[in-house]
Symmetry: C2
Subunit: 127 residues, 2 copies
């Protein structure tokens, strides 16, 4: 399981795990029925507490993406891919809104923002 944790970003660890697992499901790297790494194993790999992985899996279960059964493990559920895309777009929208709020306060123009966005996107694309 290729999950990368960044402590610098300010994003909670459990949220980073959630995002990346959701992305794997959406992109077909994980399919319905597939077993996720156990909470303990993932915690060991990432050198974090079991409770943090549990928190991530718990949220994913609450949102209907996975299912956990005691003694056996955690598994990907069958999911409406459209709904996932929607929720992903919504999260992006929230970030953009914050950026726009600041831009308007600072009298930064839309074209300036478009330029910044483009540069950042091209940078991040090749990582």
């Amino acid at each position: 399981m290729d999950i990368i944790i960044s402590n610098a970003s300010g994003v909670p660890i459990y949220e980073q795990i959630e995002e990346q697992i959701k992305s794997m499901i959406m992109n077909g790297d994980l399919s319905a029925g597939d077993a996720l790494p156990s909470m303990r194993l993932l915690a060991k790999e990432l050198r974090i507490s079991v409770i943090t992985t549990k928190r991530a899996y718990e949220d994913l279960e609450r949102d209907g993406f996975i299912e956990s059964v005691v003694g056996k493990g955690s598994f990907v559920k069958g999911i409406n891919s459209e709904i996932m895309k929607e929720s992903m777009l919504f999260a992006i929208e929230e970030c953009l809104e914050k950026a726009v709020d600041k831009a308007i306060l600072g009298k930064v123009s839309l074209s300036e923002m478009q330029e910044m966005l483009s540069i950042i996107y091209e940078e991040k694309k090749n990582e």
Copy 2:
């Protein structure tokens, strides 16, 4: 002093105050030497604690934007407007980076993002 506090955004109150005062300074609505509303008065207007306004003013003072003297009040300092613009752009950049991170995980294209950004900007511009 036209400061608007939003509890829904998740942004700390003191941070919202800081951003908006910085913006007023940068846009010339406040000039060097101008008196800010007293911590108590602002707290009363916004219906928050004095300690929260103090926290905001404290940060602004630490960053060199204002000056507080006990018994008298808080006042705008002379500031390098270029540096302010820089820090404002940096904050916007951080937000855009988070959005791009999500977009790449979700295989959302740059042009999709540009479209979203444009819509959000035009919406917010008229508020």
